[in-house]
């Protein structure tokens, strides 16, 4: 058995784990979400790698003061918006897609001004897991969710992107003030990443890298475009997942579906390297994004990049496989198909590593929702922990 499944079976209706981060205490923290059923709340849960124990810390809608029967669109999802500061405080922001209790579908455009069914705003929760205390809550962009978020520890800011209007915003943790820097496109990038000076990066609709200058809170065009498949024109080719590299001056990322490209971006040199299709050959069909999906990027203790790729299997369905990429020679190899009880997982959103070098992959689209633990990455002596400051 290559993978050990860690189930969130106290939340049997919840169906997705979008956020997964490593805390400064070595615990894994997870946003457990429920999207397909109306009226659920997102939860912040943890997994203790040493005790092999799952804990459920925060029922997000409850601490935000939204009762399940409020009739409002549910605070059911923490997307790529769970981060930790250097003191171990967790910050999670909610995203919108969950319907109100009793409703079976919901979209923001349909309910923007609905007096009851609207999504109030993205709710921010600051939580201290050591003291099991919610430090504060706040509301971010009105009527919008937060698709992804990053934290600048030294600047004490959160960077986020709203959904659906796709505005880049900055939230100042000391003053609790939000600055809306405006629209960056029509398609949400799935990741904001930081450089060594904690400037924030993401892209426009065509994968052109935009930097939020942390000194001035201004968006700047970096004149670099992340790669896209030759048969595409770059549209919707936004970053899906980005992992900090051990060298401290670059990141490795993958684009969002349909000919997804693996790339590295050296933010010190503003230089991009295209490693081509993340794994395998080009796929001709584009029926569904998870048929062509790469996610869950994390550097292992062996300084190799691990990620998951949905690869077409017999019968047409694509299933996630763990792949390892060696940055030194560009070689990729499949480690194993990710399965649970003999059935393939659906797809993987994010990944994280514990302090012992074990890797964890968060699954989306099955119940109960779960993590997959992989313990097979070899530890290389002298390898340090690389903290990820974004969701």
């Amino acid at each position: 058995m290559k993978f050990e499944a860690i189930l969130f079976d106290h939340l049997p209706i919840h169906d997705t784990c979008w956020s997964l981060i490593t805390g400064v205490d070595g615990m894994l923290y997870i946003g457990v979400c429920g999207e397909m059923t109306g009226g659920l709340s997102a939860f912040i849960a943890s997994y203790d790698p040493h005790q092999h124990k799952v804990d459920y810390h925060v029922e997000v809608a409850d601490v935000l003061g939204i009762s399940p029967d409020s009739g409002e669109a549910a605070q059911a999802k923490v997307h790529y918006s769970l981060v930790t500061d250097h003191e171990g405080i967790l910050y999670g922001a909610t995203h919108c897609t969950g319907a109100p209790l009793g409703d079976w579908m919901w979209r923001p455009w349909n309910c923007w001004t609905h007096p009851v069914k609207h999504f109030r705003a993205s709710g921010l929760v600051a939580y201290d897991p050591r003291k099991k205390t919610v430090l504060f809550t706040d509301w971010l962009m009105p009527h919008e969710g937060t698709r992804c978020m990053a934290i600048s520890n030294k600047r004490r800011k959160l960077y986020g992107i709203s959904y659906p209007r796709n505005h880049f915003f900055v939230y100042h943790l000391e003053t609790h003030q939000l600055s809306d820097l405006g629209c960056i496109g029509s398609v949400n990038p799935q990741c904001i990443f930081l450089d060594h000076e904690e400037h924030a990066y993401t892209t426009d609709d065509y994968g052109n890298i935009i930097r939020c200058n942390g000194d001035r809170d201004e968006l700047e065009d970096m004149n670099v475009q992340i790669p896209h498949a030759s048969f595409r024109n770059g549209f919707h080719n936004v970053p899906y997942d980005v992992a900090p590299a051990p060298d401290g001056e670059s990141v490795y990322g993958v684009t969002w579906t349909f000919g997804e490209r693996l790339f590295s971006y050296n933010f010190k040199k503003n230089k991009l390297v295209d490693f081509g299709k993340a794994y395998g050959g080009e796929v001709d069909e584009w029926f569904h994004i998870i048929n062509s999906h790469v996610g869950g990027l994390v550097f292992g203790p062996d300084d190799r990049l691990y990620f998951t790729a949905n690869i077409p299997a017999a019968g047409g369905k694509s299933t996630p496989h763990l792949v390892v990429f060696n940055p030194d020679d560009g070689r990729r190899e499949i480690i194993a198909e990710i399965t649970y009880n003999g059935k393939p997982a659906d797809h993987i959103s994010r990944a994280a590593a514990d302090f012992d070098g074990n890797l964890y992959f968060a699954e989306v689209g099955n119940r109960p929702t779960k993590l997959f633990k992989y313990a097979g990455a070899a530890r290389k002596s002298g390898t340090g922990k690389v903290m990820r400051c974004w969701g």
Binding site: G39, D62, G102, W104, M105, W109, F136, G185
Partner: protein
């Protein structure tokens, strides 16, 4: 600061998802999937056709940059080209040539920095108003059609003569793509540290009328004599609407405090109050403002939209003003245009929310919410913030998008099917 509530999850009763709901059991799940598909599309404009254009020929150059591309003024030129003005770190003037061999926006140039172009009007030239802080000015733009008249070819080389543009154009159906644009000039600065809220043009008399931003002073600028004259304040307490309308006789209309309509009669050269009051929600009369105007040039009727989100009809010759209704469940009617067939198209909605397109069909007395603007050509884009509109020569409606990244939206209203032939005869 509060302790997280202890989570007792084991004894929870969880709701059912649709595929477990008795209503959608068995084959019923297909009904759910069908309803969901219809629901997801239903928020967006589903009749007619919507497109956007970036503010620049994206095949060749970058569009007007983010932060400089909020489209805040539009006007149609006699050639059918649409001229637009932007606001932001730099305010640009641009034109859109709708002809099929062009079909792109061309950035003419920068009018000023940290500036808002508040209005554009046109006769032989394009005239505009811009404001920055407490300063405002009027400017003119002479397209190549105008510059050509004064072109002196004497002494010019062959290539120079052959390359002289006869009109503003964008042409890329040939091997060498090219474009041409004219010249921007400042006409006059607005006195007393004021910006300009709006302009209208009396093309017959060659006079531009406007309203200053702070004091609400009505002014006129004579194109032929190049003289600027203040005519007085439209409201003694400076509560006024920022928009003006002009009818075919040259009479200018606007709204003073509480939505009381005033008029400027060119022959009398005088501002006058009228007895007409713009409709408002009850109790909000004091806040009433006209957000947008549009004129039906065919019958002289003026349509207005208010800050309450009410569409109204004002017929000065008939001495009537009436509320048509409130087309969407938001405040504001930010842009209005009358189509070639007399239908009135508008966009309402509050800043920071999600604007909706609506239509008023005078023949049917029908007011309908058409939904959120969403286009996929020339790039997929949502129209969340719209602040100006103008009707194109062929009846298409142009909307100017504001925000950090502005686009020119083009709405093609559906063409009604003709009535069936009687007894097989057409």
């Amino acid at each position: 600061m509060k302790n997280a509530n202890p989570l007792n999850l084991k004894n929870r009763t969880w709701p059912a998802s649709p595929h477990e709901d008795a209503r959608f059991a068995g084959e019923g799940i297909k009904k759910f999937l069908q309803l969901r598909a219809e629901y997801e599309k239903s928020a967006f404009v589903g009749e007619g056709h919507v497109q956007v254009r970036r503010l620049g020929p994206a095949a060749f150059v970058r569009p007007i940059p983010a932060g400089e591309s909020a489209v805040t003024a539009l006007v149609r030129y006699k050639s059918g080209k649409i001229y637009g003005g932007t606001s932001g770190k730099r305010a640009h003037l641009f034109f859109y040539d709708p002809t099929p061999d062009a079909d792109v926006v061309v950035d003419i140039g920068v009018v000023g920095e940290n500036m808002r172009i508040t209005a554009l009007v046109a006769d032989e030239r394009i005239y505009g108003a811009a404001e920055s802080g407490d300063e405002g000015f009027l400017f003119s733009y002479s397209p190549c059609e105008v510059l050509m008249k004064d072109l002196d070819v004497a002494g010019k080389g062959m290539r120079e003569i052959f390359d002289s543009p006869v009109e503003d154009q964008m042409f890329h159906s040939i091997v060498d793509p090219c474009h041409s644009a004219g010249k921007i000039e400042i006409l006059t600065r607005i006195p007393k540290a004021e910006g300009v809220a709006d302009l209208v043009i009396d093309a017959q008399r060659k006079i531009i009328h406007g309203l200053t931003s702070k004091s609400g002073s009505f002014f006129s600028y004579s194109i032929s004599s190049k003289t600027f004259s203040l005519k007085g304040r439209v409201d003694s307490i400076r509560e006024f609407s920022r928009k003006l309308a002009i009818d075919s006789s040259g009479t200018v209309y606007g709204a003073a405090s509480c939505g009381h309509i005033f008029k400027y009669s060119p022959d009398a050269d005088r501002l006058e109050s009228t007895s007409f009051v713009v409709p408002s929600l009850k109790g909000r009369e004091a806040y009433n403002r006209v957000d947008s105007w549009a004129v039906d040039e065919q019958d002289g009727v003026l349509y207005g939209g208010t800050i309450d989100g009410i569409l109204f009809e004002f017929n000065p010759p008939a001495g009537k003003i009436r509320s048509i209704g409130k087309p969407i469940d938001q405040m504001r009617v930010r842009a209005l245009a009358v189509g070639n067939d007399g239908r009135v198209f508008g966009v309402g909605g509050e800043p920071g929310k999600c604007c909706h397109l609506f239509v008023y069909e005078p023949g049917e007395h029908q007011l309908r919410d058409l939904g959120v603007l969403l286009a996929t050509m020339e790039t997929p884009w949502y129209g969340y913030e719209i602040d100006c509109a103008v009707t194109g020569r062929d009846g298409e409606i142009y909307f100017g998008e504001t925000g950090r990244i502005g686009h020119l939206f083009i709405y093609f209203p559906p063409i009604a099917r003709r009535a069936p032939a009687v007894n097989g005869c057409s």
